[in-house]
Symmetry: C2
Subunit: 154 residues, 2 copies
Amino acid sequence: MEERHDLKLKPIGIIHSSYKNTGAAPYQGCRSEEISQIEVFKEFQDGLKDIEGFSHIIVIFWFHKSQGYHLLVKAPWDDVLHGLFATRSPNRPCPLGLTVAELITREENILRVKGLDAIDGTPLLDIKPYVPSIDERSVIKPGWLEGKLGKERC
Amino acid sequence: MEERHDLKLKPIGIIHSSYKNTGAAPYQGCRSEEISQIEVFKEFQDGLKDIEGFSHIIVIFWFHKSQGYHLLVKAPWDDVLHGLFATRSPNRPCPLGLTVAELITREENILRVKGLDAIDGTPLLDIKPYVPSIDERSVIKPGWLEGKLGKERC
């Protein structure tokens, strides 16, 4: 079945952060003041043109410390088993991480960002501009996380 | 350099939609009433437990019709070349698509969703719950897209 073939990716950069291992990263980074550096490899630098106009970017990365997964997991917010895809666990069949980060500055191929919860050395896969009219929704049910994370947006 | 190694992914499902080719899909699906079906392969079905509590999910997929990329691109919204990473173009070094979709129903391993702009046959890579306190930001600059997409959230 063609749809089950392996797909191949090559990182476009690497994330440098003060979180040196998985235990050190916050569960979600958006309330942290920590600054991380996203190094986009030089050959992709031209693709960053105009990114500095955006206050926030979507960073997609590879959970390189992820080792296997379980389909039912406990999350930090309660003591109940939930389906993996109803959680943000880093241990997933496709170990893709996704964080909306605040873009502080860009210098050539280096982006300084706030609110990124990736650990040091994380392979960078993609950057997309964060656009409220595309990425936000007005009426939301937050499932089993209702009341567990607070309602404040970052 | 280890960080430039190939990374391998296997799809966890497939997207069935009425958009039969790249020209048919809307630029962003969130204002469309079209219903798509996400088929999560049976072996991952247990990972969907509790997903039906969420009104919206983040769908990450593989742009399987993407063929190569340019680092400077024109988007549908103006006639200026922008850096690829400051656009949502499907033609990217890592061809990863990302859409917040409204979850209508789940039946076993099939999710019916609204607002997904992926074309028929798109490989599914990941599903994450959409959580406003994690995924939304309160103060935003939308870069070169300012005034081009409207301000209304979906």
